[in-house]
């Protein structure tokens, strides 16, 4: 992961402009973009920090709003600052986990949904034609959901002695990755 952070060559929320159909391509797309992946994990982590109902409301809201963002991207609706929005999502979500910030549920959902819009837009704008577009979309959404689940499982480590510190450290890591991408997007 450290090597990937140290040697990025392009915005990684969308690994290749030529991504097309197929389960494998769709499944690997979110995982192969570090800025996207850490933000997805952070959604689960923050859900675990907040506890029920945010634990499941955030991972339910994110893919739907993300897909709506994807729809906007596919339709060519202009959205400025997408790369910056994606980077800020990692930074802010990481900070939320690090600081164990607990806003009201509606505010948490609003924040996560806003970030989801940027992530979805970036992916949607690059979903190319292909007969397997549905499989691609399905695998993409499932991979995103599994990244949320990974975050939730990591967040559940809080129940163990010292786990809380580990989760906060993971949040700090996500924030650092977000900061790295933000710096790159602004330069």
């Amino acid at each position: 992961m450290a090597a990937a952070v140290a040697t990025p060559t392009a915005a990684l929320a969308h690994a290749e402009a030529s991504h097309g159909g197929g389960l494998v391509a769709g499944f690997l797309h979110p995982i192969s973009g570090l800025d996207h992946a850490v933000a997805m994990v952070a959604v689960g982590l923050w859900g675990a920090v907040l506890g029920p109902p945010a634990l499941w409301v955030l991972p339910v809201a994110f893919p739907m709003v993300m897909a709506f963002g994807g729809l906007l991207g596919l339709l060519g609706v202009p959205m400025p600052g997408v790369e910056i929005g994606i980077a800020v999502s990692g930074l802010v979500m990481g900070l939320m986990v690090l600081l164990e910030f607990r806003p009201p549920l509606a505010a948490a959902v609003l924040l996560v949904a806003t970030f989801a819009l940027f992530h979805g837009y970036a992916h949607g704008a690059e979903l190319p034609p292909g007969g397997n577009a549905l499989l691609y979309s399905l695998a993409f959404v499932v991979a995103t959901g599994l990244l949320h689940l990974l975050g939730i499982l990591l967040g559940e480590v809080r129940r163990w002695p010292g786990g809380r510190l580990g989760v906060r450290a993971a949040g700090a890591g996500v924030a650092l990755v977000g900061f790295w991408f933000l710096r790159r997007a602004l330069l």
Partner: protein, 197 residues
């Protein structure tokens, strides 16, 4: 990371599988495979199953019989149509809407879910029939697809309905959100690339 990106490159682009893919198992087997190989129909059936699992009353008991029968009836009607019906866009819209209903987690009544499910199965069975009409053994393929729907519906509803445990209830809603998200992405893709309908 580069390896992942290389793996994530697209496989061979194929045409939407509106028709039959030869499985070597004859028209019956081709029809059964059609459901699995055609994700839009598969998602439609899955969404209806989840909706029935959440619903009140005898939905879960009746859907495994009602859904394939309605599909079969619609398909038989479709054989008499002169032209193939467009199915991709309406089916995607239906999948998206059904996924959203599952996500909301409302316990719908059987008198709403069952007629709705039967209506959708009739409609998309009609489209399936119109697509299969030109195939040799199309009738057997349609019957195979109906059987596949019955098997899938039964196998899924047995463990899912009713979702008594809290985690299962939430799991259904999460899957509903995934179906909605997939449908939304697909809708955008269909609008952007109308040749894929």
């Amino acid at each position: 990371m580069n390896t992942l990106a290389a793996l994530a490159r697209p496989p061979l682009l194929v045409q939407p599988l509106a028709h039959l893919v030869p499985t070597g198992l004859g028209p019956w087997g081709d029809g059964m495979a059609r459901l699995v190989l055609q994700p839009t129909d598969l998602l439609l059936v899955l969404a209806l199953v989840l909706l029935a699992a959440q619903a009140e009353g005898p939905c879960a008991e009746r859907l495994p019989l009602l859904l394939p029968l309605a599909w079969l009836l619609g398909g038989l009607g479709g054989f008499s149509l002169a032209a193939e019906l467009p199915w991709m866009l309406p089916c995607t819209i239906a999948v998206t809407a059904l996924g959203l209903l599952v996500t909301l987690g409302v316990r719908w009544r059987a008198r709403i879910v069952l007629p709705g499910a039967a209506g959708l199965a009739l409609l998309f069975g009609l489209a399936a029939g119109s697509n299969l009409a030109g195939h040799a053994g199309g009738l057997a393929a349609l019957a195979g697809e109906a059987v596949a729907i019955a098997v899938l519906t039964t196998l899924l509803l047995l463990p899912l309905a009713p979702p008594r445990r809290r985690w299962l209830e939430l799991g259904l809603r999460v899957i509903g959100s995934w179906i909605t998200a997939t449908g939304l992405l697909m809708l955008g893709w269909l609008v952007r690339h109308p040749q894929g309908w």
